[in-house]
C-alpha cells in the first residue's frame, strides 16, 4: 500500500480534523462520542472559530473531552455545565460557548440548570448525548432508559410502577420560550452523521448570532453498557431508540427571524 501513487497529500479527501490531537481516546470501541467529537472539531474548524470556541465538558464519559479537541475548555461540576456556559457567554459575548453533556449530566442531576438556561434563552449551544444509560459508572438506569430496557440497576427491565417513565428532554426543551433551535439527531450511518453535523453547525451559528439557546440531542449507542458489539448496538438503537426518540427538528424559529 505504501507505494500507491494515489496516497499523496494533494489527493486527501478526508482526514482527522486538525483540531483533534493525537491523544488516544479513552472511549470504548465504536462509541458515538468519538464521532460527535469529530463533528464538533470539524464544525469549529470550518467556521474559523478555533480561537473563539469555549467548550464546557460534563461529568460522565465525555469528562475528558478537553484532552482531545484543541480549543479552550472548562470543566463543570456535575450537571452544572449550562450554568457555567451562561456565565461565560454573558461575560464574553463574542465567543462560541457550547456544552457537551450526556443524559446523566443533562437530564438527571443537571435538569434544573439545563431547563433554566434554555428557558432564559442564553445564547449557548448544548450538545446532548443520549444513550439511555449511565455509561461511565457501569451501565445503571438513566432517566432516558427505555421502558423494559435492562440495565445494572433494573435487571428485569424498566417498569413504570417502579422506575417511572423515560424523559424526553428535547420535547421539553422545544416547549420553552427561550430556545430557538431544538433538534434530535443520530450518528449511526453516514447520512445521519452528515445531518448531525449540519445541526451542530446551525446550533453554533445561533450561538454566534445571539439567537437564543440551541439544543442538539444526539441519540447514541453505548455498546459496553448495552452489552452488545458496536454493530449490534447501532441496530438495536435503530429498532428501539429511534421509535421512542424520533429524529428530526423539534423546533426551529430561525427561518422566521430571518
Amino acid at each position: 500500500m505504501e507505494n500507491n501513487p494515489i496516497i499523496s497529500p494533494e489527493n486527501v479527501v478526508y482526514q482527522k480534523p486538525t483540531l483533534m490531537n493525537d491523544n488516544h481516546m479513552h472511549y470504548c470501541p465504536g462509541c458515538s462520542h468519538g464521532v460527535v467529537h469529530k463533528l464538533v472539531a470539524e464544525v469549529i474548524e470550518e467556521m474559523g472559530l478555533t480561537d473563539k470556541a469555549v467548550g464546557i465538558s460534563p461529568v460522565g464519559c465525555a469528562v475528558f473531552a478537553y484532552n482531545y479537541i484543541d480549543i479552550d475548555w472548562q470543566e463543570a461540576a456535575h450537571g452544572r455545565a449550562p450554568a457555567l456556559a451562561s456565565a461565560i457567554k454573558r461575560l464574553w459575548p463574542d465567543r462560541l460557548v457550547f456544552t457537551y453533556q450526556g443524559d446523566g449530566d443533562l437530564a438527571c442531576i443537571g435538569t434544573a440548570e439545563s431547563i433554566h438556561a434554555l428557558n432564559r434563552g442564553e445564547n449557548i449551544a448544548i450538545i446532548f448525548i443520549n444513550n439511555a444509560i449511565y455509561g461511565m459508572t457501569g451501565g445503571q438506569m438513566a432517566p432516558t432508559t427505555l421502558m423494559g430496557m435492562k440495565t445494572a440497576t433494573c435487571p428485569y427491565g424498566r417498569q413504570a410502577d417502579l422506575h417511572g417513565f423515560p424523559l424526553k428532554f428535547a420535547d421539553i426543551a422545544a416547549q420553552l420560550e427561550g430556545t430557538c433551535y431544538v433538534t434530535r439527531q443520530s450518528v449511526h450511518t453516514v447520512a445521519a452523521i452528515r445531518r448531525a453535523k449540519k445541526a451542530i453547525r446551525q446550533a453554533f451559528d445561533n450561538c454566534m448570532n445571539h439567537r437564543g439557546a440551541s439544543l442538539v440531542e444526539i441519540v447514541s449507542t453505548c455498546s459496553s453498557g448495552w452489552k452488545m458489539t458496536p454493530e449490534q448496538a447501532n441496530k438495536w438503537m435503530e429498532e428501539n431508540m429511534h421509535p421512542f426518540y424520533p429524529l428530526g427538528d423539534l423546533k426551529n424559529t430561525i427561518d422566521k427571524q430571518a
Partner: protein, 73 residues
C-alpha cells in the same frame, strides 16, 4: 475514480463500524494481528477496489482513517 485509505493502526480499536459502512465491503479486521493496545485493527482486504467514498472514515469514531481520491482515465 480511484481511492485509497491509510489506517492509523495504533489508533484503531477494531470496532468494525467501517467494515459495515463500506459500500464495497473491502475492509476487514486483520487476521491474528493486533496493535500495541491489543485491538485487531482494520485493513483493506481487496486492494485497488476502493473508490475513495469516505464512508469508512466518516463513521470511524477514532478518526483513524485518511482517505485519498484521484481521477484516473
Amino acid at each position: 475514480m480511484k481511492g485509497a485509505i491509510v489506517v492509523n493502526t495504533e489508533r484503531c480499536k477494531g470496532c468494525r463500524l467501517c467494515v459495515v459502512a463500506c459500500p464495497l465491503g473491502i475492509l476487514e479486521l486483520a487476521d491474528k494481528m493486533v496493535n500495541r493496545r491489543g485491538y485487531r485493527y482494520v485493513e483493506q482486504v481487496k486492494p485497488d477496489a476502493c473508490t475513495g467514498c469516505t464512508s469508512c472514515a466518516i463513521v470511524c469514531p477514532d478518526a483513524c482513517i485518511t482517505v485519498y481520491r484521484k481521477k484516473v482515465d
